[in-house]
């Protein structure tokens, strides 16, 4: 049982406050959806939790598996079991997908035992083939430079391939649904759900649309506006947003902003 607990988290970029006190508790096996209009701070929250050096919290806490997440480097957070599926994954020219995935596995093993020689090539090939087949990724991608020249949909599948390879405890999926056609969305969502069922992975789905939530069914839905979570509820909250948009949220909580 691993939980990610965010308490009163504040983050500014320069002088501009972006997150103004986020509280969130995600436990193993739970699915949380985080919705909200553009610029409300959803991606900032994702990057901050993943440890991006440009996002320095000014106040608050994030506890992951009982440890202070904010004190950890990005790589330590990952090895502790937190995963971010990026909305815009960087490309890494000159490093093949296979080499990269193998290093993610080996870095984990070597963090436990510095003498570890790493996963054997045959074992790695088997693992990679199995995961690629699960996500409908052509094996040729293994030899291509990571994300270089990949289409939006290919990048998203490869994010989930990475997730399936490192088997995190809690995964943040930052607009994984954007740029995916309906078949790819189903395959990617099923992949994530399988990890939830098999490993008890907790998921935070950041999205604008109800669509992905048809596949990754949320237990909780949160709405973010201007750096705060202003509404939390069950799956019906997402349906309500789909129907009515964000205006009612703005009307209801707008006063907060002007105060």
């Amino acid at each position: 049982m691993t939980a990610l607990e965010v308490k009163n988290l504040h983050v500014s970029i320069g002088d501009q406050p972006i997150l103004k006190g986020i509280d969130l508790l995600i436990k193993s096996g739970e699915v949380h959806a985080l919705m909200g209009p553009n610029g409300s701070g959803k991606s900032t929250l994702a990057y901050t939790l993943a440890g991006h050096p440009a996002y320095e919290p000014s106040a608050g806490q994030a506890i992951f598996g009982g440890e202070d997440l904010l004190e950890m480097e990005a790589d330590e957070r990952s090895r502790a079991g937190l995963f971010l599926a990026f909305q815009y994954p960087a490309s890494v020219p000159g490093v093949t997908l296979a080499k990269f995935l193998r290093q993610t596995i080996n870095s984990r093993r070597q963090a436990v035992n510095p003498e570890d020689k790493g996963i054997s090539i045959p074992a790695f090939r088997r693992l990679l083939k199995e995961k690629m087949d699960m996500l409908g990724i052509d094996h040729k991608f293994a030899g291509r430079y990571l994300n270089e020249g990949f289409s939006g949909g290919e990048k998203k599948r490869v994010e989930i391939l990475q997730m399936a390879t490192v088997e995190p405890k809690i995964a943040i999926m930052d607009e994984t649904d954007s740029g995916l056609d309906i078949d790819a969305l189903r395959i990617v969502s099923e992949g994530a759900m399988r990890l939830k069922e098999e490993l008890g992975m907790g998921i935070l789905v950041i999205t604008h649309y109800q669509r992905i939530l048809n596949y990754i069914n949320p237990d909780y839905v949160h709405i973010m506006l201007n750096g705060r979570i202003v509404e939390s509820g069950g799956p019906d909250l997402a349906l309500k947003l789909e129907e009515r948009g964000y205006d009612w949220i703005r009307e209801k909580h707008g006063a907060l902003e002007e105060a």
Binding site: E73, A74, D75, F100
Partner: protein, 432 residues
């Protein structure tokens, strides 16, 4: 005291039992050397390379000391390139052959692969015909002339007409005494093919060392040469090289250069595309750290129409090191329908390092396609964060990113063992 004297030329030639013609060649070169002033930053080609700190008077001819026979050598030197198909292997220490083998298959083909001195005595006609005649000339500069007078050791590769060398060739020129004047001469006759890895290296030393090398790659009509010159000298070596490739009609020269070591390197590398259909590719890989200074002068000379040249030099720089790449594509009048490309990309790992990138075109034909590109960049922090976000420690992420920068060029080196060793050196330098 400067020991580059006429008497020293005579003594060297006598100690090598050279024929008269080679002694004459050396003496003629020595005369040119004496009549050529030491380059200064006032010379255009040397503007960015200052030799003030070089203790030239402490250098001298390569001496045949005990080191050449007794030195304990790094283990990698004896590793064969291709485990299952031995081609030719040649290991020299201070210009003296230590290990040598050439497979029966290559011998049966008439491929000649040996040290330069053996070539002088056993294949005088070929050496007289090609040694510093079509490739590098002794009159190209002070150091070309000095080399002509004092050259010592190096490798001769000759592939006869219409012969595809049965296996790759590998030579390693190891230096112990800090004075090396190696000469590489490759001659591919019409329609022949070869792959040749040419390594030169030394350990670290407190005293300044001196490498004065020449590389000549003569590729005949319809011939095809893959050549990799891989330099990994110690950190106190001063290197001055003249290198030239020459390609005949429909010939191909795929030329890879890797430079890791030295305190200072000044190299002139020229590709001559002499006949329609000549194709030449130049790939450069370099990594400088500390106070290294690397100055590479490249030329792609399109001496005929319908010729193609493609140059990509990539460098990574650390600490207070400095690199200069000065490239020139030339097209003679009438060299129509040529395709020339040159690019230099530098990865700055520290703010204190400096890279100068100076492309140039001199085109005297009008129907040509010639382009150049240069870029100086830093490690991409988003790339590093992305790698780290998957559990890869920062240092490993940096290593991967730098390796990735070089990977497309590394793939042009045909042997994994050599690629791995260069990658290993890069990682070592990142962590220095």
């Amino acid at each position: 005291m400067n020991t580059f004297t006429k008497e020293a030329v005579q003594k060297l030639s006598a100690s090598l039992n050279e024929p008269e013609w080679m002694l004459e060649f050396r003496l003629k070169a020595f005369e040119i050397y004496e009549n050529t002033p030491m380059p200064t930053t006032k010379d255009e080609a040397w503007r960015r390379t200052n030799l003030r700190q070089m203790k030239f008077d402490e250098f001298g001819p390569s001496i045949n000391g005990d080191a050449a026979t007794d030195a304990a050598l790094p283990s990698f030197l004896n590793q064969q390139l291709t485990a299952d198909e031995t081609g030719g292997n040649l290991l020299q220490v201070d210009g003296v052959t230590r290990d040598y083998e050439l497979s029966e298959a290559l011998q049966a083909q008439g491929v000649i692969f040996c040290d330069m001195h053996t070539a002088v005595s056993q294949h005088p006609d070929l050496v007289q015909k090609y040694f510093m005649t079509e490739g590098v000339s002794v009159s190209e500069g002070k150091f070309a002339a000095l080399h002509g007078a004092f050259w010592r050791g190096g490798t001769f590769l000759y592939v006869p007409k219409n012969t595809k060398a049965a296996a790759p060739l590998h030579s390693v020129l190891w230096n112990e005494n800090g004075r090396t004047f190696t000469h590489t001469l490759v001659v591919l006759e019409v329609g022949s093919e070869a792959i040749f890895m040419d390594e030169y290296a030394s350990g670290n030393s407190d005293a300044q060392g001196f490498h004065n090398g020449v590389v000549e790659l003569l590729v005949g009509d319809n011939a095809n040469l893959i050549y990799a010159g891989l330099q990994d000298f110690g950190a106190n070596m001063w290197q001055f090289n003249h290198e030239r490739g020459r390609v005949g009609r429909d010939g191909k020269l795929d030329w890879v250069t890797s430079m890791m070591g030295t305190r200072l390197t000044k190299a002139f590398q020229t590709m001559e595309l002499d006949q329609p259909g000549s194709w030449g590719r130049m790939s450069g890989i370099f990594f400088t750290n500390g106070r290294q200074h690397l100055d590479l002068d490249t030329q792609q000379n399109h001496n005929a129409g319908n010729t193609v040249s493609d140059l990509l030099y990539k460098g990574a720089l650390k600490d207070r090191s400095r690199t200069v790449w000065q490239g020139m594509i030339k097209a003679l009048p009438g060299s129509q329908k040529i395709d020339g490309f040159q690019a230099n990309r530098n990865l700055m790992l520290d703010r204190t390092a400096r890279a100068d990138s100076i492309p140039g075109l001199e085109i005297e034909a009008d129907d040509v396609k010639c382009t150049h590109a240069s870029a100086i960049g830093k490690l991409d922090p988003e790339e590093i964060f992305y790698l780290m976000s998957r559990g890869i420690p920062r240092n490993t992420a940096v290593e991967m990113s730098v390796q990735g920068f070089f990977d497309p060029l590394m793939r042009r080196i045909p042997f994994e063992g050599i690629r791995d060793r260069i990658f290993g050196r890069i990682v070592e330098k990142i962590n220095m």
